[in-house]
Point group: C2
């Protein structure tokens, strides 16, 4: 595996009502790459973006002013219910997806990718409690009910909320090798579910 000679660029998308851990779980793991990664927070406009729970994230740059990224990270959350109908936002996502080396979603973030049309004909997964709604956003997507995360080409879609942490370690392994992910998990005192097929939550929610 040829690891990148310069830092990889990671853009994390914020929108009102994003789910906290969908964003910051993966960003903790990417952040532990240190000098090997540069993280930028993106939104329709720079500035504070609120979660439903209260805490706000701060967008450093607008989607429109952002170009090529090595990794685009798209979270879920209740705000996705509104953003699937935000044509300007979905259009920017589609543009960034076309230019990104890898595209990652967490939870209902895959509904946003589905609306952007970039998952058509691909395998993908999502939050288990919102699966029917997500499925309705992308009839041409091959939705996988039982998976911690699904890797299909350059697309990495994770199940609900905390699954994004496991997915991000899988994505890091695809770039920097498995040993890098194992080290990061140990630094974070995190027990990585390395098997992307591990998913006790599918049957808990009557799926698969």
């Amino acid at each position: 595996m040829d690891t990148p000679a310069k830092p990889i660029t990671i853009g994390a998308v914020l929108f009102p009502g994003f789910e906290i851990l969908d964003v910051y779980g993966p960003l903790e793991m990417f952040g532990m790459l240190g000098e090997r990664a540069r993280i930028t927070m993106l939104a329709e406009r720079p500035g504070p973006v609120r979660t439903l729970a209260g805490p706000a994230g701060l967008a450093d740059a607008s989607l429109a002013e952002t170009g090529d990224l090595d990794v685009l990270l798209v979270p879920g959350g209740m705000g996705t219910r509104r953003e699937v109908g935000n044509a300007a936002f979905i259009g920017e996502l589609a543009r960034l997806c076309a230019r990104a080396g890898r595209v990652a979603s967490v939870c209902t973030g895959s509904a946003l990718l589905a609306r952007a049309g970039v998952l058509d004909g691909r395998r993908a997964t999502s939050n288990k409690r919102a699966f029917a709604w997500v499925r309705s956003q992308g009839p041409a997507v091959d939705w996988v009910p039982r998976a911690r995360w699904v890797e299909d080409g350059r697309f990495f879609t994770a199940s609900g909320v905390s699954a994004g942490i496991d997915m991000s370690l899988g994505l890091i392994a695809s770039i920097f090798g498995r040993q890098a992910s194992l080290e990061i998990a140990t630094w974070a005192e995190y027990e990585w579910h390395e098997d992307s097929g591990w998913d006790p939550f599918a049957s808990l929610n009557g799926l698969a």
Copy 2:
């Protein structure tokens, strides 16, 4: 167990160089309490507070203007190395700890609590890779090397980074009952390490 009649107030402390997941892991779990909790982000001054990895959190209020809280959450991160010498910050922490129903720390956040003197004579834990440094910040604390988290009276101290998620579910259980924490873990598709003694990372780092 008498669950609170009104929302519990949670204050999460930010400082430059806080560790991302130390804050947002527990806040995801507290956030899933919905109407049962109100989260406020605190710092020496309101406004953006940067992590080393790049993303900034937004402080809604200053420590000095904050009064009684049901839960005070203190994260760790490389910024603790500077904040242990910030007498004004440590003084505000000590004041808030004295007035908080419960005090929680994640990772090297327990070094800040130790410097505030609030852990003297109590059992506490911390990040396993920084344990010697943390121990040096509180010689009168009964440091526990092997623990996912330690509960001693109203103090909940967690091990490194991701351990805060498990601790926060333990803390939620102490207020709202175990069933509430089990539900939240399932909603977040999170496998809770409910046993606070679970800790494979202590021996990985030559402790215990």
